[in-house]
């Protein structure tokens, strides 16, 4: 026997209460991890973006376009290895099989040179060159729409009226976990030549460049913006990560609120654990008096109680982490990734979140047990011995 025997055996004294408390901690850990995973997943695409790619957009508004000839100027900037461009199509599925997917009109000659973590075969690229209304889809999107190479597909747009007809000439596969597998790509010149884009001819949405080395990305970005500074349409060049975050940015407050909420659940469960420990301490006051009489110093009594609290918290923490690993990483996550990959390409609880949760559980064990422990250790021995529960 050692000093941990007494606290651990005490957990079995009121088995029901201990089990309920452990379940509460487990629940808190589950919620905490789920919320954190949600936040991580939202930022994941941005976090994992290539370090050697930068995006150049209109300085004032994402809804404003740049003149097409800017791409030629961009390609001359030292440090820019390859550059391409895209227009936002605001694509919608007329059959509503998917709530949201990204549709881009891109330069078919350079897109896959720059966005090299989307993989296509040379045959697909060649077919794209031959087919004016050719489209290349992400593998997940193709599956949702039940399309193969050679199929016809019709989509609509929030910006441009009517139906748009395309022929699938290729399907790209992702080379990285965080690549969006639901993108619909078609030729920019097809968009530009269509009479429906009468108000925005020879204009592009934004440009993406691969730079020679990522260490100098800030300098190269500045150089690019300087080039267009004296024009009417000024640019802003940021890392691809910041560009992606720009879309998510408005959710900053929601994400911050979620962060607060994940802490609230920890607070709630700290109260529950503190209550449980207090109840146990109150029931055993007499016993603590006996221990003090025998010679156990107040600090030791305090440690016994803290130990009990910590054990319950860690038991719940470990159970919670195990449950998270099972539920999120083996069940919920893959389901989210498959069905909601427009928003969550990557729904997975990283190890550091699990570690954070365990540390939080331990911390709440100590905090919850703190007050009852202090109370018990400060009792006068004669008072404690007099109490009969």
């Amino acid at each position: 026997m050692n000093v941990t025997t007494y606290p651990s055996r005490n957990l079995f004294r009121r088995r029901g209460r201990t089990i309920l408390t452990i379940i509460a901690v487990m629940l808190a850990v589950l919620i905490f991890c789920a919320i954190r995973t949600f936040i991580v997943a939202f930022n994941a695409q941005a976090d994992d973006a290539a370090a050697d790619r930068i995006a150049t957009r209109h300085k004032v508004s994402i809804t404003m376009q740049l003149p097409k000839h800017y791409i030629d100027d961009l390609r001359e900037v030292p440090g820019v290895k390859a550059a391409t461009w895209a227009n936002w199509f605001a694509a919608k599925d007329p059959k509503e099989r998917i709530p949201f997917f990204a549709g881009f009109a891109v330069d078919h000659n350079s897109w896959f040179d720059v966005e090299d973590d989307m993989q296509v075969s040379p045959e697909m690229l060649a077919a794209w060159k031959q087919t004016a209304n050719g489209a290349i889809l992400g593998d997940s999107l193709a599956k949702t729409f039940n399309l193969q190479v050679g199929s016809d597909v019709v989509i609509t747009s929030d910006i441009y009226p009517g139906e748009w007809q395309f022929k699938v000439v290729g399907i790209y596969t992702p080379l990285r976990k965080t690549v969006d597998r639901n993108i619909f790509l078609f030729r920019w010149d097809f968009l530009n030549n269509d009479p429906r884009t009468v108000y925005s001819k020879e204009h592009i949405g934004w440009m993406v460049s691969r730079i020679t080395d990522s260490i100098h990305s800030a300098d190269i970005s500045k150089r690019i913006d300087q080039k267009f500074d004296l024009q009417d349409d000024q640019t802003m060049t940021v890392s691809e990560r910041a560009f992606a975050l720009g879309f998510v940015g408005g959710l900053a407050a929601v994400l911050k609120a979620l962060n607060v909420v994940s802490l609230v659940i920890l607070l709630i469960v700290t109260l529950i654990l503190a209550n449980t420990v207090s109840m146990s301490v109150r029931e055993r006051t007499h016993e603590y008096g006996v221990l003090r009489a025998i010679g156990f110093p107040p600090g030791q009594v305090r440690n016994f109680i803290l130990g009990e609290s910590l054990l319950i918290a860690l038991a719940g923490g470990v159970a919670g982490v195990g449950l998270v690993e099972l539920v999120i990483n083996h069940a919920l996550g893959p389901m989210m990734e498959a069905n909601m990959s427009g928003v969550f390409q990557h729904f997975f609880t990283p190890r550091w979140v699990l570690a954070e949760a365990l540390a939080a559980a331990a911390a709440l064990g100590l905090v919850a047990g703190g007050l009852p422990a202090r109370f018990a250790s400060r009792l006068k021995i004669t008072d404690a011995l007099r109490r009969v529960d």
Binding site: A24, G162, G249, M279
Partner: protein
């Protein structure tokens, strides 16, 4: 609503039974709550926090209702068919005159066309940047909405680069305070000359300037994003819609303004509401466990008293009901504390969220209505009922022999 009433009835049942059966005097249970102050407080606080989150979720879900309230029944918004929001719409200027044609249009109110665009603005506190909605409105645009009030500074002069900023975003972004300016394009600034309020409508998260100045700055002289039309009577809507949507000269979509606002925020609202409710439900599980632990402890602690009561002749049902009532009261105390916290939230906190359709920021204030409080209290009572059920059953199973235990 009916769910609320049903749950309320279920919650009141134990108390009614207690009175009818002349059962265990409730003072007995009430005293117990007071004597074990620490436990009662800790449990009530836990429930209070859950109620707080629940009410917050309810209020967030209300956002579309709040925004919809800003729209008028007799005002109609016209957008290009296929557009889901003003931002992506484009209507040729010459069509505006045609919209004025049908008989349902109020001659006093009339038709206005506006351009809408989002602009990146830096947060005043340096915490990054967000999109802000800029609206170019014709000279009669402000008067078109009687609820608009200039609360500081003055209205912009038509045809100039002056602008007013909505009260929800005033001062939150660099350039959006009186005297400052926001660039639309190089050498095309909007100078802020005043601040306006709009009765809580989403307009309060917008910047308003002159239609022509903004159109020219953006190179979109010939178009507007949307048109708004005031009808003679709200009932004229169907006739007017028929007239416009079947006209072969253009392809438009007509909606009531209130419906438009509601749809605009629908995606955001649903997202927030679903997320909020899922969180609240999971939290409530924790709170119910907390209530169960507390009540179980109370039953164990008082088993001798319960045995005595049973020996004195109180029935099982009486004991069950009294402990159930105690659990509900405990939970409702938490509900009251949580509601107080919610009140603080609604007064002091405003919440910026993103409108998924326009990617622009809407600033939302929590709106605590009596309905929210009612639902919160009933929710707390419900948690007490469920959490306290098993302990109450256990209490009723205590045998009179327990009274003899030394």
């Amino acid at each position: 609503m009916t769910l609320l009433i049903v749950v309320l009835i279920v919650l009141l049942l134990p108390f009614v039974l207690l009175v009818l059966m002349k059962a265990v005097p409730f003072e007995y249970n009430a005293r117990s709550l007071v004597v074990r102050k620490v436990t009662t407080l800790a449990t009530a606080l836990g429930i209070a926090l859950v109620v707080f989150v629940f009410a917050g979720a309810l209020m967030l879900g209300d956002i579309s209702r709040v925004l919809a309230a800003a729209g008028r029944d007799d005002t109609v918004i016209i957008m290009r068919k296929g557009s889901d929001s003003e931002l992506t719409g484009a209507i040729a200027n010459e069509h505006l005159g045609l919209f004025r044609g049908p008989a349902q249009v109020s001659q006093a109110g009339g038709v206005i066309g506006e351009i809408v665009v989002v602009v990146i603005a830096d947060h005043a506190d340096g915490s990054g940047s967000s999109n802000v909605l800029v609206r170019g409105t014709p000279p009669e645009g402000i008067a078109f909405r009687p609820e608009i009030k200039i609360i500081s500074g003055r209205a912009p002069r038509p045809g100039t680069n002056e602008a007013i900023v909505g009260t929800a975003i005033a001062g939150r972004f660099k350039g959006l305070s009186a005297g400052q300016s926001l660039d639309l394009r190089r050498n095309r600034p909007l100078i802020v000359v005043g601040e306006f309020s709009a009765g809580g409508a989403s307009y309060e998260s917008e910047v308003w300037g002159d239609l022509d100045y903004i159109r020219n700055a953006l190179g979109r002289q010939a178009i507007v994003s949307s048109a708004r039309v005031r009808l003679n009577h709200p009932e004229d809507f169907d006739a007017y819609r028929q007239a416009i949507e079947t006209d072969k000269r253009y392809s438009m979509k007509v909606m009531r303004e209130s419906d438009y606002f509601e749809k605009q925020s629908a995606q955001t609202a649903t997202f927030l509401k679903v997320m909020g409710l899922i969180i609240a439900v999971l939290f409530s599980l924790a709170a119910m466990i907390g209530a169960a632990i507390t009540m179980n402890g109370a039953v164990a602690h008082r088993s001798r008293e319960i045995g005595t009561l049973r020996a004195l002749g109180f029935s099982r049902l009486a004991i069950l009901t009294s402990f159930l009532a105690e659990a509900i009261v405990l939970a409702v105390i938490g509900g009251v504390i949580g509601s107080a916290l919610v009140l603080v939230l609604s007064v002091f906190v405003s919440f910026p969220i993103i409108n998924f359709q326009t990617f622009s920021e809407i600033v939302f204030r929590f709106h605590a209505t009596p309905a929210v409080f009612a639902k919160a209290l009933v929710f707390s009572g419900g948690m007490g009922l469920i959490g306290g059920l098993v302990p109450a059953i256990r209490a009723s199973r205590v045998s009179p022999i327990e009274a003899m235990r030394g």
